[in-house]
């Protein structure tokens, strides 16, 4: 029972935040949420050092290194999102704060459920919790038209995607008589209908990770949603989608390698090419996140390496992306604009933040010695190792293309003249940027730190 502590603490925190809103003297949700997430992360670390691994609740819930790593990642993401949300929420959203944090925490809990279960029923329920709370959060700025539109587009796409996923599940059940993926370790089945079932399920998850051909919702939703929620969508559900795909590959023993190679090639090329002509920073980051999903998909073509490579890349990507989004939130608060051209002169106004932004962008490009470089190196090496030289080369070409639009941001903030009055920085955002920056540099220089503790690279 003690293995459920991290989830239990998050659930309790969510309920406290919701109920705290009702008292005549309002209890502030932010400190409770931060304390709860921190406590949960702490209990996770304690459990990790305890080292006991187990299958719980009639094999519905696995407590293994894999789920521990992802749960830790989600809790870290949650802490950073809450920090970068504080000032944005006060300035832009304002309404229904208790419910907002409640849904956000429950959504994190859903992510933790998704990565812990080998059973398709619980995976489905977790995905629904994550999905439905994110549809609502995307539409939270009720009086803003683009927020409502983002919510409805996200909702309709998401509902169709989960129906497609479920159709795959139903075929899977018809063939195996079970929803338990781990049953397949005993007797792998390789009939055409089985492949059809797997393809349906992969397409359903492709929605969460914004993989081609299920990526069309991504730019619109990213642009319309409140920025902290955009930041969350670009790392949280994406990582969970990859976690489930990894479970599929390692448990279902399906020969889907060619499918993943193809999807990776299409996804990263499409994302990078469309990103080249974006003017709005949120749309640019949406296409960049599609391209990054393509790189991560490359990691899935060598399942014998386990989850370490993909896990490390997700960690590096999450750190860099959250850092960038923290700075974007700050910029949108002071400039009231999300156009890249309006960022002119930012390097003079705040050299430290501009430098941090440059490092995050370098990490996304994959320049040593940052974490993103190690991630990309490991993924391309794995692809070459399993005979996909063309895919690795395509990945390198794509990374070179991406340099253009990432560096374009830096060109505007460093070399274009603009307003140069110095500005002050909210403490919470500064702290979040600092945390992401330290992570990006430390995991770049000493990848073994993450490797030894959670991953087995």
């Amino acid at each position: 029972m003690s293995l459920f502590w991290p989830e239990g603490i998050v659930l309790l925190t969510a309920c406290l935040v919701l109920v705290g809103d009702l008292f005549p003297r309002r209890v502030q949700p932010v400190p409770i949420a931060l304390a709860g997430l921190g406590l949960s992360l702490l209990s996770l670390l304690v459990l990790r050092s305890g080292g006991s691994l187990a299958a719980l609740a009639h094999n519905f819930y696995w407590f293994d290194l894999f789920s521990l790593f992802f749960k830790g990642l989600f809790l870290g993401i949650g802490l950073i999102i809450v920090m970068i949300n504080i000032d944005y929420f006060k300035a832009q959203v304002k309404k229904n704060e208790g419910e907002f944090y409640f849904l956000f925490l429950i959504s994190l809990l859903g992510l933790m459920i998704v990565v812990s279960s080998p059973n398709l029923l619980l995976i489905y329920l977790g995905i629904e919790i994550v999905g439905q709370s994110s549809y609502l959060l995307a539409g939270w700025q009720k009086n803003l038209r683009r927020s409502g539109e983002a919510a409805i587009k996200y909702f309709l796409f998401g509902a169709v995607a989960s129906a497609i996923f479920l159709y795959g599940v139903s075929l899977f059940y018809g063939l195996t008589g079970s929803f338990d993926l781990s049953r397949l370790l005993v007797s792998p089945l390789l009939s055409p209908l089985y492949y059809a079932a797997l393809i349906f399920m992969v397409l359903g998850f492709g929605f969460k990770i914004a993989m081609a051909p299920m990526q069309f919702w991504c730019p619109d939703v990213y642009e319309g949603a409140p920025i902290p929620i955009t930041a969350y969508l670009s790392v949280g559900p994406k990582a969970a989608g990859f976690a489930v795909l990894l479970r599929f590959i390692t448990l279902a023993r399906a020969d889907l390698i060619w499918l993943f190679a193809l999807l990776a090639a299409v996804t990263m090329t499409w994302g990078n090419l469309v990103a080249l002509r974006q003017k709005n920073i949120k749309r640019l980051l949406a296409y960049s996140s599609i391209a990054q999903a393509g790189y991560i998909l490359i990691g899935l073509v060598s399942p014998q390496l386990g989850y370490g490579v993909v896990g490390f890349y997700l960690l590096a990507y999450a750190l860099a992306n959250l850092g960038i989004f923290a700075i974007v939130i700050y910029l949108s608060l002071i400039l009231q604009s999300e156009n890249i051209d309006d960022y002119a002169g930012f390097a003079r106004r705040s050299p430290a933040l501009a430098g941090a932004l440059a490092l995050f962008l370098f990490s996304l490009i994959g320049i040593p010695p940052l974490a993103g470089f190690v991630g990309k190196f490991l993924i391309f090496k794995a692809a070459v190792g399993s005979g996909f030289l063309w895919l690795a080369l395509l990945g390198v070409i794509n990374s070179v293309v991406s340099v253009y639009y990432y560096l374009n941001i830096l060109r505007v903030i460093y070399f274009k003249p603009g307003d140069e009055t110095a500005i002050n920085l909210p403490a919470a955002i500064a702290l979040a940027v600092m945390a992401c920056l330290i992570g990006t540099i430390v995991f770049g220089l000493f990848p073994d730190l993450a490797g030894n503790f959670f991953l087995k690279i």
């Binding site: 659930l11 919790i129 063939l175």
Partner: protein
């Protein structure tokens, strides 16, 4: 015999749901389709599912959809009409999809019917309270999310 009657009703009403212009009529035919599926559940010896289908789908979801239609379209107004887009490419894509699926279905031997004795309602209740107790708790979270979120979003500030 009863199976073919239900199947034909289901397919016809489903086609009407996705093609009719008047969205209110679409909703009424969706109710017919759901009734036909409830009948199929009884036919498949899943009486509990049939009852749940009637209570939740027709009693809750369809009433909700009808309310939403009433709230968002003025009756006897042009707004009630709903159009379609890109019908032909979508139709072709869906037909190709169905043919491909039929082909792979044809090539795959499905497990044969096992005539094991089982009491659907008793087994269902047992399964929900023993092996499936964790998902049972988790689905309550989902309903809580829907409750809290829908109220927060739909109320006027």
């Amino acid at each position: 015999m009863i199976f073919y009657f239900l199947a034909v009703t289901l397919i016809l009403s489903a086609i009407l749901v996705v093609t009719l212009k008047n969205i209110f009529h679409c909703a009424l035919f969706l109710i017919v389709a759901i009734l036909a599926i409830a009948g199929l559940y009884f036919h498949l010896q899943a009486p509990f599912l049939g009852v749940v289908q009637l209570i939740i789908y027709i009693g809750a979801i369809m009433v909700l959809i009808l309310f939403a239609i009433m709230l968002t379209s003025r009756i006897s107004d042009r707004l009630l009409q709903t159009a379609s887009r890109q019908s032909i490419p979508a139709l072709l894509a869906v037909i190709v999809f169905i043919l491909l699926a039929l082909k792979s279905l044809d090539k795959t031997p499905l497990p044969a019917h096992i005539g094991k004795n089982f009491d659907p309602i008793l087994d269902l209740g047992r399964a929900l309270m023993t092996a499936y107790v964790l998902p049972f708790e988790v689905v309550s979270l989902l309903l809580l999310v829907a409750l809290v979120g829908a109220i927060a979003l739909a109320r006027k500030d």
